[in-house]
Amino acid sequence: MPSDGAGDPVGQATQATQATKVDPADPVNSVGQVNHVLEFPGGYTRSVGPVIGRFLTELRDARLVGVRTAGGRVLVPPTEYDPADGAPVTGEYVEVGPAGTVETWSWVPRPRPGHPLTRPFAWALIRLDGADTALLHAVDLGEIDPGCAPPPTLTTGLRVRPKWRAERIGGIGDIECFRPDVTMITDPGRAEYRLRPGRALGRFLDGIAEGRFLGHRCHVCGKVYVPMKGMCPADGVPTTEEVEVADTGTITTYAVNNIPDPRAPEVPFVSAYILLDGADIAMVALVAGIPADQVRMGMRVKAVWRPREEWGPTMQNIRWFAPTGEPDVPFDAIRDYL
C-alpha cells in the first residue's frame, strides 16, 4: 500500500517529475537548506502501447476494461503480459465494473497537496466486478474533518463505484475517485407554526408578566386549575371564575434528570410537579438552589423570579423554584395529587 506521502498516482498532471522540490506541507526546511527544483518542461511523454492504450481510451469514454490472460484471468489495469508467467495476454478485452469491492485500504487523515482529494480519504485496492486483480485508487467517504479517524463504514468488502470527471483525457485521473454505494439520503424537514396562547393562557401569561399566578375555578367540581385552560378537563364545562394563587407550593414528585438539556442550568437537574398553594393541579417546573439529591417529596418551594425589568408574558420570568426552608408537608397531604 502507498503511504500518504507517496506522490500522486492519480492526478492528471503527473507527467512532470518533481526531483528535489520540497513538499510545502512537509516542514523539513531549516536554516541553510536550499530548494533546488528540477521540473522537465512540459512533462515527459510516454508511449502507452496497445494494451494500456486500449484501457486509457476506454477510460476516456467512461468505460473500464481489462485484458484476459491465456489462463483466463482478467487483469485490471491491464498489462501486455501475464505478470504470473510472463506469457503474452490474449488480446481479448473484457468490460468490468463499474462497481467494485475494496480489498484493502490505507487511511489518509491529512491529504497532501499532490493528493487527489483535499479532505481525508482512503487509498484502496479495488477489485472491479469481473476482474481478477485489484486497481489502486482513492475512495472518498464524504465530508470528514482533517485528522479524523476513518469512518466505521470504511471496511474491506465496501462496495464502491467510480466518480467520472466530466472532461476526460484518457488517464487514470479520468476517475476522480471511487465512492461508496448510496445507502442513505438526508431528507430535510421543517415545520413552522404560528402559535397564539389563546384567551385563557394569554390571561395567565398576563398575570405572569405582573408576577402573579392566575387560575380558574371550575363551577362544577370546584377545582382550581393553574394555568387555566378556559375549561375543566374533568367536567367538560367552560370555566370563567378567576382566582389568584400563591407563588409558593409543595413538591409532590420529581425526576432527577441526568440527560443534558440546553434549558437546564446544570446536570443533574430536577424537574418537579409543584402544587402551588391554592391550586388543585400540580405544574411541572425546574427546582434549583439545592443539590439534586436533597430534593424531597413534600418539600416546600417558592418561585425565584428574574429581575422585574426582564419580565414579559412568559414563564421565563420564573428562573426556577427554590426551597423555602419550611418543614416538609406530610405525604398524606399530597398523596391525592400524584
Binding site: T183, M184, D187, G189, A191, L195, P197, L201, L205, C218, C221, K223, V224, Y225, C232, P233, A234, T252, T253, Y254, A255, V256, N257, N258, I259, D261, R263, A264, P268, F269, S271, A272, Y273, D280, I281, M283, V284, A285, L286, A292, M297, T314, M315, Q316, I318, F331, R335, D336, L338
Partner: protein
C-alpha cells in the same frame, strides 16, 4: 363483540438499533410477508390494510399509510392509519379486529412499525413549545416522577425495577427477534448502569429499535381454512383520559382500570392472575411491571411489587409477564403494542418457540401510550369463544 375474529398469521422483523439494510417500505414488507406466509396467503387474499405508527414527527414521514399502501399490496383496497401514541400498535390490532367483528371484511392485514434510526424520538417528544418551561426531557423524563410516586405510595424496595430489567432481558435471550440480548444479564449489571432520569437507570429503560410487526386477522370461515392454529379474540378494549386534570391518578390511571374491566367482562375473566396463562404487557421502564400488575387487577393496589419480587411474573412463575422480553428488550415504538398483541397470539397458538409457555390457552396483550393516558388491550385464546 359481533362475529368471531382470529389471528391466523404473525410476522415480525428482527429488531435492531439500525436496520440500515432496508428502507421503511422494505421493513414493513418484511413483517407483512412473514405474516402472510404464516397464514398461507398472499397480498391478493387481503381485503383491507390497517397501519399503526407513532407520531409522524418521529421519522418525518407524513401520512405513511398513503406512502406505504402499494408496498403493502393495498392498491384498490381500503387502507387506514391508526395513531394513539405509544399504544398505537394495540389500537391498530383492535381497529382491524373491529372490521372482522363487524363482518366488513374476512381477512385484514395489520402492520405497525417504527424506524427509530431514521429519527430521534426524544427530540420529537421534547419540542419545547412556547408558553411553557416545563423541562421534561423525553419519555423517561415524563415517567420518572410517576414511578417515584409509585415507589413512595407502595413502599416498594428499590431493587424491584432491577428485577424486572433482568427478568425481561433473560427472556429476550430466548427470542430470536429481540433487540437487546445481553448474555449473563444480572442485577449487578443493571445496578452498575447510570441513572438517566432518577429513579430510572439506563438498563431499566427500553432501547430504541427499528422494526415492524404484522398480523393477519380473519373471520371464522377464513380462520377455518388457515394452515396453522388460530388465536381467537376473546375481548378487546380501548380507553383514554386527559393527561392533565385535577385529581388524576397518574400512578394507577383510571382509563387503564376501566379498560381492563371492560376487557375482562367481554372475556369472562374475574381473576386475571388465575385465569390467564401469560401476558405481554407494555413495560418500557421496568417499574411499570408492578404498576401495571395493580392497574390490570392481577393483585390489589400496592401489592404489584410483591408479585414481581416473588417471581410470579418470571417464565417459571404462575403468571409469566413478557416471555418475549417485552418492550424493555425491543422497542420500535409504533410496533411495540402490536408486538404485545402478536406475542400473546403466538403463545395461545403454541408457536412462541423457545419462550413458549407450556399449554398457554388464554393470553393478554396490552399497550399504553401518551402520558399513560391511552390504553389498548386484548385477550386471545386457543379456543373459539
Amino acid at each position: 363483540m359481533g362475529n368471531p375474529c382470529a389471528v391466523i398469521g404473525v410476522g415480525q422483523t428482527r429488531y435492531r438499533t439500525k436496520r440500515l439494510d432496508v428502507s421503511i417500505a422494505g421493513l414493513v414488507r418484511e413483517a407483512a410477508l412473514r405474516a402472510l406466509e404464516d397464514a398461507g396467503l398472499t397480498f391478493a387474499d387481503i381485503d383491507a390494510v390497517v397501519m399503526g405508527k407513532a407520531p409522524d414527527l418521529f421519522e418525518g414521514v407524513m401520512m405513511p399509510e398513503a406512502y406505504l399502501a402499494d408496498a403493502l399490496g393495498a392498491r384498490g383496497k381500503p387502507v387506514m392509519r391508526v395513531h394513539t401514541a405509544g399504544s398505537v400498535g394495540g389500537s391498530t390490532g383492535i381497529v382491524a379486529a373491529g372490521l372482522i367483528n363487524g363482518g366488513v371484511h374476512d381477512r385484514v392485514l395489520v402492520v405497525a412499525w417504527e424506524k427509530q434510526s431514521e429519527s430521534n424520538a426524544t427530540w420529537a417528544l421534547t419540542t419545547h413549545p412556547p408558553y411553557n418551561a416545563s423541562l421534561v426531557v423525553g419519555a423517561g423524563g415524563y415517567f420518572a416522577p410517576h414511578i417515584r410516586a409509585y415507589i413512595r405510595r407502595s413502599g416498594a424496595p428499590d431493587h424491584i425495577g432491577t428485577l424486572v430489567a433482568v427478568k425481561d432481558r433473560r427472556n429476550a435471550l430466548k427470542n430470536p427477534y429481540a433487540h437487546l440480548r445481553i448474555p449473563g444479564i444480572s442485577r449487578e449489571m443493571v445496578e452498575a448502569t447510570p441513572m438517566l432520569w432518577e429513579p430510572i437507570r439506563y438498563l431499566e429503560t427500553c432501547p430504541s429499535s427499528d422494526g415492524a410487526c404484522a398480523m393477519v386477522l380473519a373471520s371464522e370461515s377464513a380462520a377455518r381454512r388457515a394452515p396453522r392454529p388460530p388465536a381467537w379474540v376473546h375481548g378487546a378494549a380501548m380507553r383514554s383520559e386527559p393527561i392533565f386534570f385535577a385529581g388524576r391518578d397518574t400512578v394507577n390511571p383510571r382509563a387503564g382500570r376501566d379498560c381492563a374491566a371492560d376487557l375482562y367482562r367481554q372475556a369472562g375473566i374475574t381473576e386475571p392472575r388465575d385465569q390467564l396463562d401469560c401476558a405481554e404487557v407494555y413495560v418500557p421502564f421496568s417499574w411499570y411491571e408492578p404498576m401495571w400488575l395493580e392497574n390490570l387487577g392481577f393483585c390489589g393496589e400496592g401489592a404489584g411489587w410483591k408479585l414481581t419480587e416473588a417471581g410470579a411474573t418470571a417464565l417459571a412463575g404462575d403468571i409469566p409477564w413478557n416471555p418475549s422480553g417485552g418492550v424493555l428488550s425491543s422497542n420500535p415504538i409504533g410496533a411495540s403494542g402490536l408486538i404485545r398483541f402478536a406475542e400473546a397470539a403466538l403463545q395461545v397458538r403454541g408457536l412462541a418457540g423457545e419462550h413458549q409457555i407450556d399449554g398457554a390457552r388464554l393470553a393478554l396483550g396490552h399497550a399504553y401510550g401518551g402520558g399513560a393516558q391511552f390504553f389498548a388491550m386484548w385477550i386471545v385464546g386457543s379456543a373459539k369463544p
